[in-house]
Symmetry: C2
Subunit: 125 residues, 2 copies
DNA sequence: AATGGTTTTTAGACTCATTCTAAATTAATT
DNA sequence: AATTAATTTAGAATGAGTCTAAAAACCATT
């Protein structure tokens, strides 16, 4: 665990946002001005392999990172792009039965309209 | 519906594979040698907006396309990369309840080890 | 079947996230 | 301290996807 890797992990754990690699790079640079982009990418891979973080793909152009490796759902507002976590009771068992096998992990993204954007619907401005 | 768009749709519907844009481009070119990559990308967007196909993101470097717009799960073998479809009975209702709202669509990917790769595990060669 | 207007296609340039590379640095081990 | 292995760095390279501007196809109306 180098100091670069520690800072990257701290950045990811410092809030509940799902940051992109670029955002993590910017935040890490505030503490380690010399850190390189490649180091961020390298360590994001290492940290995911160590199951300390989880990569979430396909929400935006760039991948994002979740500070928890434990699988859970992501609900994404189609209007504002905001991402929230949610859990599904008994979901693991349900998947195992559906696919007829154990599994290693899953990724679930639900696209919806969040309350704030729903309230704004149809209004001007 | 131009002839380019028709060919692209036929290519996607011609098998149960989840092709990348590049693969679709190559296959479409066999029938329309003059077709351009940009046309493929444009039409994939149009076809998804029309709910005739569905984009699946994050399985590999490039996006893939499903010949059905109806949401369903994808089970992806971590060893060979093979993708299969599967369905979850009553899943829609389960999600609605979990997120406390209606939703527009979802994407579910499960990573596992397929039977063929499981059988190969630990063997040499 | 010519007209004018809109939509689509095309080729290639462009963007941008991510990966690769090779040299330099750091950490770990003897 | 010397040796080896792992990590970091800067920048080049890759490659999926987007953008652009000009040409072509399509459409509705005379």
């Amino acid at each position: 665990m180098t100091k670069q890797r520690a800072v990257i992990l701290e950045v990811i754990r410092s809030d509940m946002c799902h940051h992109t690699a670029e955002e993590i790079f910017t935040l890490a640079k505030e503490r380690l001005p010399g850190i390189s982009r490649a180091t961020v990418y390298n360590n994001l891979k290492v940290l995911e392999a160590e199951k300390l973080i989880r990569r979430i793909t396909g929400d935006s152009l760039s991948d994002r990172y979740d500070n928890s490796y434990i699988p859970h759902g992501h609900m994404i507002c189609e209007e504002c792009g905001g991402v929230k976590d949610f859990n599904l009771e008994g979901f693991d068992k349900m998947i195992s039965e559906a696919i007829g096998s154990d599994f290693n992990s899953y990724e679930l993204k639900v696209r919806y309209l969040c309350d704030a954007c729903k309230a704004r619907e149809g209004k001007c401005g």
